[in-house]
């Protein structure tokens, strides 16, 4: 079957679905909710596939899930390449520091990645610990 890639892209965006079954995405959504509940400085997160398709998210208002899924996929892939070619091993996380807060990107298993948004002044270690735990749970959920 031949596919027009633009149509696929638009259909994927409109449907709002990746290839993940709804129960898996819901379960991942719950993991995100728990993480946000227990880590008060985390104010948003998105789980997406390595090739930039959104699976589940709780994003701060005004952020487009499709755009952030694509950007996170591109950035983490480039960071993986950088770290590998720099002989540093696979990145445990990528950290963006801004005046308005931080953004972490981490792998959540072989297929997914977790992008976490934190408030300005957030405790880095606490947020990262919560994010890593959530990433492990998400990897287990997606792998099942």
């Amino acid at each position: 079957m031949q596919i027009i890639d633009q149509v696929i892209d638009r259909l994927s965006r409109e449907a709002g679905d990746g290839p993940a079954p709804a129960p898996v995405r819901e379960a991942i959504g719950q993991v995100i909710d728990q993480m946000i509940q227990f880590a008060e400085d985390i104010d948003g997160a998105i789980v997406s596939s390595a090739d930039g398709v959104a699976w589940a998210e709780r994003l701060p208002a005004g952020l487009d899930r499709h755009r952030f899924a694509a950007m996170s996929g591109a950035l983490l892939a480039l960071c993986d390449t950088l770290a590998r070619e720099g002989a540093r091993g696979e990145p445990r996380n990528v950290l963006i520091e801004g005046e308005g807060g931080r953004i972490f990107l981490l792998h959540a298993g072989p297929r997914l990645l977790l992008t976490v948004f934190t408030r300005a002044g957030a405790n880095l270690g606490v947020c990262l610990a919560h994010a890593r735990q959530a990433a492990e749970t998400i990897a287990a959920v997606a792998g099942s």
């Binding site: 596919i3 892209d9 390595a50 930039g52 694509a70 591109a74």
Partner: protein, 176 residues
């Protein structure tokens, strides 16, 4: 005259052969950011570029030509402008095996219109050896309707000589 270093951008739809073409002519193993496909593109290929391909080519006169490949999917269009910055021209690869490759050619010509206006473009049609594809004349006719004079070549993205033809054609278009 070319500067001591120059940058050429390869773009086009998913599966057109951008990663392949850069790999075919690069002097060193390309930097790649290919990951498994999970969207509709998986029916075309198992992996897809999500950030960029990068490699360089050394010309006989010592000029280093940097080759950057963009991701094909529209959701990565933010990478297109990032990668195009400072580029001297565009190589647009279109996969003739798609149902409407002429429309795909137009989409990318429009998406990169500002960059093309400042620099130049050549078009490579890949997979044209497969049965029942759109003929080269159809692409030329559409370009004529758009008042665009663009060299169009049927190439095999795996063949370094074919890809080099595109590079040389682009440099000729740019007046080098």
């Amino acid at each position: 005259m070319l500067a001591a270093t120059e940058k050429i951008i390869f773009t086009g739809p998913v599966g057109a052969g951008k990663t392949t073409a850069i790999g075919a002519i690069a002097d060193t193993p390309p930097v790649g950011t290919d990951v498994p496909c999970t969207d509709g593109a998986w029916a075309l290929k198992s992996t897809t570029t999500v950030a960029m391909d990068y490699a360089y080519l050394l010309l006989d006169d010592g000029t280093r030509v940097h080759l950057y490949g963009t991701p094909g999917q529209e959701r990565f269009d933010f990478m297109w402008s990032i990668l195009a910055r400072g580029g001297i021209g565009l190589v647009l690869l279109v996969n003739c095996d798609h149902p409407d490759p002429v429309a795909q050619m137009e989409f990318y010509l429009d998406a990169f219109a500002d960059f093309i206006r400042e620099t130049g473009v050549v078009i490579g049609l890949t997979r044209s050896d497969l049965a029942a594809t759109v003929p080269l004349e159809a692409f030329q006719a559409r370009l004529l309707e758009r008042n665009q004079v663009v060299p169009v070549f049927e190439i095999d993205a795996r063949n370094p000589e074919d890809v080099k033809v595109l590079i040389h054609a682009l440099l000729a278009v740019l007046g080098h």
